[in-house]
């Protein structure tokens, strides 16, 4: 039994102990909070006062073609400066004269740097005359590794250099417009450089350390985070074929007196763009050598009215929705007709009134006949087919790519109700036309075009581009009949002799588009001409489209025939496509 007297001191002890313990608990909680819970925050705070660091630059990634050929890479170059004051100190040291006196050293420096030795000496002397204490004189910039090695071997204490990253495009203007370029600060301005900026960009590393009050590095505080170089972007482009096409279209465009030209090659089975060539070209190694208007990719950014190449799409719409076959029914068409609603449609050449089959209308590329065929289905159906074939949808997401313009049917007037049957009143880019023909060549299955194969990061992990969307946009039978008609266009059309590729069965369709003059009208007498086709017909492998901007020697689409023939021949050869073994079906009748 406890008495009051004995209870009281014990309670006091207990209370005191409890107080001490609770205070201890508070301290422990605070300690844990400082040391563990918000440790990072405090460390970061302290680093503001103690931490210092240097950035370690990473290198921008390469761009390679489908075979791994390097199209763009980053190299280190060296910018040299000299210290005239230090040079003078070394020269004037009589006890220990320099091994290489300035008179000789300057000659060697000038020789390595490609400067004039006398000018160099005069320049340095002038700088010294102006300010005897000057420690800075700019020598040559962008020295390569070879020059840097030689300069280093001179062992001159007054030469200093700074490393810098420079972008080099080993193939020059081959795919230059496609690759794009970087500005002076290293920011991508166009093309794949811009499109794949995220993959190519390096993340810089850092060398950090802490300094005490007196500026001494605290031992053990050095930490290095390595830089991560940018990833390698692989394109679907074949650089050798791209070179041939660039060279060929440059020759053809100049021979035809055109202002420009493009060639696009698409793999039918995969939708991969193998060539995206154009002229005038741009060499990203030397931007100033070409006009700023050529620095972008006109191929992806210039929309035009395709003209007759889209008659194939009208044909697909009416074959699937109005029961039209290549040979029946027929329509009567003369070379110029006025329709009930007041629209007037002309053909490109004068001909008597014919009973055109659909095949004949395509072979002769009769606008009047197509207007009559096309209006067998409602404008909404045709609008749907244009959309299905890719009009109004950008292809690969190229920087500043044009998606073309497709007006809703409510905006079609009396004239455009008919002109939309033969490729007018809407615009597309050349890759979009290639995409539309890819679907026809691939049995009606449209595969979205792609330009980027993959991105391989610095660790070697390959990130494949997202699989392209595939969609059956027309029935395989429709695609087969269209292919047969397009082969008949190649064989019976006006360019038949000029586009023959010996040994191969090819399809082709020409397109002649009027060019807006900027004042609401069209330029007279000049056109944006194109020719598209695929081969071999018995097992289509590649779609080729060639365009010429305002050819003047031959103004019609016949101007593109020679370029198309060369392009198709080279594609068949490059990819070892076997010549056709199955003979062509009987020719389709043009008239009835």
């Amino acid at each position: 039994m406890t008495t009051r007297a004995t209870r009281s001191p014990r309670r006091r002890t207990v209370v005191a102990l409890a107080v001490i313990l609770s205070i201890l608990c508070v301290f422990i909680v605070r300690l844990v909070d400082i040391q563990v819970v918000s440790a990072d925050e405090h460390v970061n705070q302290s680093l503001k006062y103690l931490g210092e660091g240097d950035s370690i630059p990473g290198q921008r990634g390469d761009i390679v073609d489908a075979d791994g050929t390097v199209l763009a890479e980053s190299v280190t170059v060296y910018d040299y400066v000299m210290d005239p004051k230090a040079m003078k100190t070394v020269e004037d040291n009589e006890k220990n004269p320099p091994k290489l006196p300035w008179a000789e050293a300057s000659t060697k420096i000038a020789e390595i740097m490609g400067l004039n030795a006398d000018e160099l000496r005069a320049g340095v002397a002038a700088a010294q005359a102006e300010n005897p204490d000057t420690q800075w004189y700019q020598l040559a910039k962008s020295m390569n590794a070879e020059q840097h090695t030689q300069l280093r071997a001179l062992k001159l204490p007054y030469l200093h250099f700074e490393k810098r990253e420079k972008r080099v495009y080993p193939n020059g203007a081959v795919a230059g417009n496609l690759l794009g370029y970087l500005d002076g600060s290293g920011t991508a301005q166009a093309g794949v450089e811009k499109m794949e900026g995220q993959c190519l960009a390096p993340s810089n590393g850092e060398k950090s350390y802490r300094k005490g009050m007196d500026g001494v590095v605290i031992p053990g505080s050095e930490r290095t985070v390595d830089a991560v170089n940018g990833g390698t972007v692989q394109l679907t482009i074949n650089s050798d074929l791209q070179w041939y096409m660039t060279q060929m279209i440059a020759e053809e465009a100049q021979a035809q007196g055109a202002q420009g030209g493009t060639v696009t090659v698409v793999d039918v089975k995969t939708g991969k763009i193998r060539v995206a060539a154009e002229w005038p070209t741009m060499d990203p190694n030397d931007l100033d050598a070409s006009a700023p208007s050529t620095w972008g990719s006109k191929l992806f950014t210039y929309p035009f009215e395709p003209g007759s190449t889209f008659k194939a799409v009208t044909a697909a719409a009416i074959m699937e929705n109005a029961g039209v076959t290549p040979t029946s029914p027929t329509v009567t068409a003369s070379s110029k007709e006025k329709f009930e609603n007041g629209a007037v449609i002309n053909d490109a050449f004068v001909h008597p009134t014919y009973n055109y089959t659909l095949a004949g209308a395509l072979i002769d590329s009769s606008n009047v006949a197509l207007s009559k065929f096309g209006t067998m289905v409602s404008p909404d159906v045709r609008y749907d087919y244009l959309q299905r074939f890719g009009v109004g949808t950008p292809t690969v997401g190229f920087p500043a790519e044009s998606s073309g313009e497709l007006h809703p049917t409510s905006e079609w007037d009396n004239q455009s109700l008919y002109t939309t049957t033969f490729g007018q009143h809407f615009t597309v880019t050349a890759p979009q036309i290639a995409g539309a023909y890819q679907a026809i060549a691939n049995g009606g299955e449209k595969i979205d075009l792609s330009l980027i194969e993959s991105c391989t990061d610095a660790a070697g992990t390959v990130h494949e581009a997202a699989a392209p969307k595939k969609e059956q946009i027309i029935k395989p039978e429709t695609a087969a009949e269209l292919t047969r008609m397009l082969e008949n266009v190649a064989v019976q059309g006006g360019n038949a002799e000029r586009i023959k590729v010996p040994g191969y069965r090819v399809t082709s369709k020409t397109g002649t588009a009027q060019i807006p003059d900027g004042n609401g009208g069209y330029k007279s007498g000049v056109y944006y001409t194109s020719m598209v086709g695929f081969a071999p017909v018995d097992d289509p492998q590649y779609v080729v489209i060639v365009t010429l901007d305002q050819p003047t020697r031959v103004t019609s689409s016949a101007a593109t025939a020679s370029a198309f023939q060369k392009a198709m021949t080279q594609v068949m050869k490059t990819y070892r496509v076997m010549p056709s073994t199955v003979p062509m079906d009987a020719l389709l009748p043009k008239f009835e």
Partner: protein, 188 residues
């Protein structure tokens, strides 16, 4: 556990043997004789210390030597990296299709037209079956030449180099040796 727990008989501790009583303290008759210090111990201790010292000097010498080797190797690596870079830069541009095409055209080669294939199983010619024409479909030196500013700068040095000397020295052109017989298709 079993309910029928075994009943243990308590162990009885054996009785400790009784000791004969002895006086706690005894007078010391004479101081114990002091042992002579052994020399061997001193030598071992001294020798050990010297060995440790020698080992440490040797080790630090080795480390210093290694750091010199390391420094010289890393500078060598730096030089070699530079050399690699320089050699790669020499290749840049020369490996471009323009350079190849220009070189080929200088040798009189042309870009031909449509290809033909020879089927080995029956000797059939697939394709047009015509040879290459005299004219090339493109002219790499003509107006359409695809520019490459990398090619213009180094050509002066490159053409004076040993590459062209090798190319001009006449070497006897022999057909490749046939080691595995003529190529033939596998037929079933």
């Amino acid at each position: 556990m079993s309910l029928n727990a075994v009943v243990r008989t308590p162990k009885v501790a054996p009785e400790a043997p009784s000791r004969a009583p002895r006086a706690r303290l005894e007078p010391v008759t004479a101081p114990r004789a002091r042992r002579k210090p052994k020399l061997a111990y001193a030598l071992v201790a001294l020798g050990g210390a010297m060995a440790i010292g020698a080992a440490q000097i040797g080790l630090s010498l080795a480390i210093t030597q290694d750091s010199f080797t390391l420094a010289s190797l890393s500078s060598q690596q730096g030089d070699l990296n530079l050399r690699t870079q320089a050699l790669q830069e020499e290749l840049t541009g020369v490996s471009s299709p323009q350079a190849l095409a220009t070189g080929a055209s200088a040798l009189g080669m042309v870009v031909a037209g449509a290809p033909s294939y020879l089927r080995l199983s029956d000797g059939a010619v697939i394709g047009a079956g015509t040879g290459a024409g005299w004219a090339s479909t493109v002219d790499p030196n003509g107006a359409g030449a695809v520019s490459n500013s990398l090619l213009q700068a180094p050509t002066n040095d490159a053409t004076d180099g040993p590459v062209t000397e090798d190319a001009t020295t006449p070497t006897e052109q022999l057909p490749p040796a046939i080691t595995d017989g003529l190529p033939s298709p596998t037929t079933h």
